[in-house]
Every structure is written in structure tokens, then in C-alpha cells.
Subunit: 126 residues, 2 copies
């Protein structure tokens, strides 16, 4: 059901400790026979639709969802500029605040991008 290429991409992201770019995935998956960017992007699009993968805008990269089936555009990320790891966060208080901001100006939110950039605990402590 997932489709062959989707499974390859999903596996690669699962093995990775950090978000990966599409061309990085392509490089890795050449061994499996994937040859063109489009094959990667199509697989990513579907995985994102299914809520298994998130796109990290500030990195132009893609990360496995730590839940399974996160609805689109509801996760926040803390991204370490040093080690590259991105930790996914779900916070009801954050969602409330974002809803309030939207409501105040009559904005109908379809999806939200929340990305903190900085240093993770491990990297900050040295």
C-alpha cells in the first residue's frame, strides 16, 4: 500500500538521526534504483499527505514524524544549528495561542509552521 519508493524514503528517514534533504535522500537511495529527484519528491509528497513525514521549511528538509500520523501542519520543531537534530513537539498551549492569533484577525489557518532554531541541550553544554 505505501508504494515501493515511499517505503524506501521512509526507511531512510527512519535510519537517519536528523532531517534529510531530497537530494541527500536521492544520493542514499541510488543503490535502490532511484535515479531522479522527482521520484523522491513524489514519495515525500505522499508521505507528508499521510502524516508520516514533515517538511522543515527552514532547512528545506524532511523529517520522520515521531508520532505516527500527525495531522498536517500541527507540529513544532526545535532544530539544533550544531548537530542538525530536529525534535518534534506537540503543545496544546501553542495551538491555543496560534488559534487565538488567527481568530483575532479573522484568519482561517490551514497549516502552521513553527520552527525554533538554536542549540539543543547537548550542544549548548560545551
Amino acid at each position: 500500500m505505501p508504494g515501493r519508493n515511499q517505503q524506501f524514503v521512509l526507511d531512510a528517514l527512519t535510519r537517519s538521526e536528523r532531517p534529510m534533504g531530497a537530494y541527500e535522500l536521492l544520493e542514499l537511495l541510488r543503490q535502490e534504483g532511484l535515479r531522479s529527484p522527482l521520484q523522491i519528491y513524489r514519495a515525500l509528497d505522499r508521505l507528508i499527505e499521510e502524516g508520516l513525514v514533515h517538511r522543515i521549511e527552514s532547512l528545506s528538509a524532511f523529517a520522520l514524524c515521531v508520532h505516527s500520523e500527525c495531522t498536517h501542519g500541527r507540529a513544532a520543531f526545535a532544530i539544533c544549528a550544531n548537530c542538525g537534530r530536529a525534535s518534534e513537539v506537540h503543545d496544546p498551549a501553542l495551538e491555543r495561542v496560534l488559534r487565538r492569533i488567527a481568530r483575532r484577525q479573522g484568519f482561517r489557518t490551514k497549516s502552521a509552521t513553527v520552527e525554533l532554531s538554536g542549540l539543543c541541550e547537548a550542544c549548548a553544554h560545551r
Copy 2:
């Protein structure tokens, strides 16, 4: 002091109703003699450093700061998928929540990207 090219870019963004891409700016500023992407990107980098312009990650575009001299990475945006306008929001409650999220995992935030995508009030009502 702002530099000639920075002023051109700043003026263009001021006249624009919505965020502009770097190549869109380039196109517009050809008349002024700007010819290469780098001229645009350099000007944008400086304007961003000075807090006069924000980069909108989810659009790969750039918007004039509605305040003057917004410290880097502290603004949120509500971006209309229909008309393209991006409204800049500053919300103390949002900043508190983001600080709390960071603190919980010992994350040292350098900057935050918060972008809502959806429909603005005008566009939702028709």
C-alpha cells in the same frame, strides 16, 4: 548608510503589498541597474540583520518589517494562500509559550519561525 542596493530593495518591498522573492526583486530592480541575484541577496542579508526585513521561510520570500527594527526571529506571520499578503504579528503570549517549549527541553533558541498559512479574512469571505 543603508547602501544604495539596500535602499533599492527596501523601497521595492515598501511599495509591494506582499512578500517578494529575490528574483522578483531582481526583475523589478533591473531598471535601477541591478543585474545579478547576489546583489539582491546581499542587500537582503543586511536588511535582515538590521531588522528591517523578514525572510518568510514557507514562501522563500522577503517582507518589509512593519515595525522598524524588529529583532531577528521574533515575529509571526499569517500568510494568505489566495491573495499572497502576509500580516506580521507580535504576540507576547506566543513568545512565552515558545520560551516554555524551549526551556522544557533545554533548548537555547536563537530565532523562531512562526508562519500560519491559510486564508485572510477578505479572501475567506467569498
